[in-house]
């Protein structure tokens, strides 16, 4: 198993993470927001010298280093002569530093980086590769690895079709708790790309997409059940597709990241499923969903599910059975109650 593990982006985090280096194949982290930026939020903006120090430290410990430059929108800047020059300069510096792989979402960057530099180009999950045709397209552009769109994590027919269509490495993002077929996905990642990309950055007080996402799940926790996360226990069912897994969560504490690393490395977690999900992290203080209560469900139901939810109702029933809500959280009276005892059905 190859585990790609997030780092918040500074050397102290990396040192803590690599205390368990035997479980980690590669670290990944964002680069500076001043060039290509990333499609997700970040805690750090490491400069080239910071990246160099961290890459050397990772390599000294036998762990690879991956830089994530997966902005989903650069406003066309990448296509201007100045944008091309600046981005190329930045990539050249990263390659000189010894970065092992670079994750990008834009097909243009996949093609130009794989053509012009001696570095592995990884297609980001934000390129939404959800079909064998898209996978072939990116492989032909020069991709060495593709992170498959997590929306199809439970579509085994598509996963197998992608595996059969390309020779490059495939990665699965295992702990993203985003809404299945999330309607906010494009707008949200584009927003992040500008908020965590080069100036000018939007000065936004509240992230509508995130808050709306939480609101929907508070109204209906079935949406958490249906999110395309992969439990540690279920990795074995993906072995004939890939053994390369990516853990999301570069804005979390190292302790949280290592808890995920241990869960996926050991392929078992006896706790709240919400502890493992990168997003929506705010809801881990609302819901207790025993991870083990999903034992066998992927094999029994989801592997062959047609995803016609209004005719099925399986996840609705399952959610009522397993989801608990924290009541009186943070006090001596704290307890977990079945979701139905608090929610009024609409």
């Amino acid at each position: 198993m190859k585990l790609f593990v997030p780092s918040p982006g500074h050397i102290d985090s990396l040192k803590e993470l690599l205390k368990q280096k035997e479980k980690i194949y590669s670290i990944f982290m964002a680069g500076s927001p001043d060039y290509i930026g990333t499609g997700r939020s970040n805690l750090a903006s490491p400069q080239l010298e910071d990246i160099k120090e961290q890459t050397e430290f990772a390599h000294k410990n036998g762990v690879k280093m991956e830089l994530v430059l997966n902005s989903s929108c650069m406003g066309g800047r990448q296509l201007t002569p100045e944008g091309f020059r600046v981005n190329h300069w930045y990539i050249e510096k990263l390659v000189d530093i010894g970065i092992d792989s670079i994750v990008v979402a834009d097909p243009y960057l996949v093609e130009t980086i794989s053509r012009d530099f001696d570095v592995d180009v990884v297609v980001s999950v934000l390129a939404f590769v959800d079909s064998p045709q898209k996978a072939e397209f990116f492989e032909n552009l020069g991709a060495k690895s593709i992170v498959i769109d997590s929306n199809v994590n439970r579509h085994f027919d598509i996963l197998h079709a992608i595996r059969d269509s390309v020779d490059c490495e495939l990665k699965l993002l295992v702990n993203e708790g985003c809404l299945y077929r999330c309607p906010f996905r494009y707008a949200h990642f584009n927003f992040f790309s500008h908020a965590f990309g080069p100036e000018p950055r939007p000065n936004v007080l509240d992230d509508y997409y995130y808050l709306k996402c939480l609101e929907l799940r508070i109204e209906n926790p079935e949406l958490i059940t249906k999110s395309p996360w992969i439990r540690p226990e279920d990795l074995k069912l993906y072995r004939d597709i890939t053994d390369v897994y990516k853990i999301g969560g570069r804005t979390h504490f190292v302790d949280w990241i290592l808890n995920c690393v241990n869960a996926y490395y050991n392929e078992s977690y006896d706790g709240n499923l919400m502890d493992l999900l990168d997003c929506p992290k705010d809801l881990k203080d609302l819901y207790n969903i025993p991870n083990k209560s999903f034992d066998g469900i992927l094999e029994k139901q989801w592997m062959n599910c047609k995803k016609v939810c209004n005719k099925c109702g399986y996840c609705r029933t399952l959610t009522k059975k397993v989801v608990q809500v924290y009541s009186n959280g943070g006090t001596e009276l704290e307890k977990c109650l079945p979701w139905e005892t608090i929610a009024v059905e609409t």
Binding site: D206, L283, L286, G329, T331, I342, V344
Partner: protein
């Protein structure tokens, strides 16, 4: 999760009030809304008050349960001995999302900003629940 007050009376009181407000709001609207952070604040201008950062609360809930929510706010404010001159919800502009409930004792400088506005929404991101005009 879990009680981590360490026996300190003030933190115990804040934790208890957070849980109590969340519980009563859930019972009121029939949904497990989350009071994700309860803050007691003081600003350099002289304003002071309480902010309840909510998740899952919507403008519709305020419209339907305004008197009851206002009562809950008043009860908590009284427990912390804060006399709010203004109580408002902060919205994500243009959406149904209530980001927070705020009750604030306004300073002399900030009072005119609130006093000038009229109606329930003096700004696209504010939904007024109560405002005490000076005579």
């Amino acid at each position: 999760m879990g009680n981590n007050s360490g026996g300190n009376m003030i933190t115990e009181e804040i934790l208890k009030n957070r849980a109590d407000f969340e519980d009563k709001t859930r019972k009121l609207i029939g949904r497990p809304v989350l009071l994700i952070e309860l803050d007691i604040f003081a600003l350099p201008c002289g304003c002071a008050g309480i902010t309840a950062n909510m998740r899952g609360l919507e403008v519709d809930d305020l419209e339907v349960f305004e008197p009851q929510i206002l009562q809950l706010v008043k009860e908590m404010a009284a427990r912390f001995e804060i006399k709010p001159t203004v109580t408002f919800a902060r919205l994500v502009p243009g959406s149904s999302i209530v980001a927070s409930l705020n009750w604030r004792t306004l300073c002399m400088r900030c009072y005119p900003e609130f006093a000038r506005g009229e109606g329930k929404m003096p700004r696209p991101d504010l939904y007024m629940l109560q405002f005490e005009r000076r005579k």
